[in-house]
């Protein structure tokens, strides 16, 4: 009997992404402020920064749906995992900045990373994102269709 674990991973990853996407989409202003805090996207032209609070949640929701339904599953996994890697790198960059400013140890740093979960312990968030990247790639490329 084939293991059901790969299918469960597909559905779990899809559900996590959809949940995070809905959370961000419901409060675009808070998410815009979080993105602005990272100081990565240019403030001008304005549409680049202003499109992100709807673009990123819709990316997550669409990727979640694709992983669950199988529609464009590999494409969704590539884009979503790439985005997660970039976003995790941005979180790390901001964490190092906070460590420089405050003298806090890496394990002590907490802030609202704009991930849809409020203030989080950063090393835990980075571990979680790493699992999310691996899970998304597995769901896109290794899990069976049904």
């Amino acid at each position: 009997m084939r293991s059901r674990l790969p299918i469960m991973i597909r559905f779990l990853m899809g559900a996590i992404l959809i949940t995070y996407g809905i959370e961000k989409l419901s409060d675009p202003v808070s998410f815009l402020k979080s993105i602005h805090e990272y100081d990565i996207l240019p403030a001008r032209p304005t549409w680049v920064l202003n499109l992100a609070p709807s673009g990123i949640p819709l990316l997550e929701i669409t990727a979640g749906l694709c992983l669950i339904t199988g529609f464009l599953r590999r494409g969704a996994a590539v884009i979503m995992s790439s985005f997660l890697v970039l976003f995790t790198a941005a979180i790390l960059w901001r964490t190092f900045g906070i460590m420089d400013e405050t003298g806090q140890a890496f394990t002590q740093v907490e802030f609202d990373c704009g991930c849809g979960a409020g203030v989080v312990v950063i090393w835990e968030k980075i571990m979680f994102n790493t699992i999310l990247v691996l899970g998304t790639l597995h769901a896109g490329f290794r899990a069976p269709d049904s």
């Binding site: 989409l25 602005h36 499109l51 673009g55 694709c66």
Partner: protein, 178 residues
Amino acid sequence: MNLPSSTSGQTAAFTAVVLVLALLNSLLNPSALDLSTDYFPTIASENSEEGATGLPQHDFNVIDADSIMEFLPELKGSNFAVLIDARSTAHYTQGHIPGSYQIDRYHLDEFVPPVLDAMKEAGYVMVYCAGGECEDSIFLATDLVYQWGVDKDVLYIFEGGMNEWKDLGLPIATGVER
């Protein structure tokens, strides 16, 4: 319809789908942010180094809670002093300084026009947001001066904001007041 079978084809198709959805959301969803609005105006961003309060440095007048308390009787029935809450509707309805108007900084076209005449006639326009590191009052003040023509000399920022107001145990109104 044939779906792309290669990973690169699926990646391109997925990207296109997300971009179309994001654009449609921005254009059709009334709560979405306006793509052409500068929500972080340059005049405040240029002085974005944090001051002692944790807020970006700015050159607006500041006002404290005691002074606002003295203005409270003036807020109703005259436009001598106008108090502006720069937070979202959800936060405003949960609790605001009595007599304050709400101007959600992220939806200026909807909120500014009904209050604009009052602000242009007023001798004091006081703006607050949550307090702490909240920057919305400063950015709103910047927009009011440089986009909407409110006189900078009459604008005052209450940096302590709603958090300080609550901590001091001062009166709070709930719901939609004005």
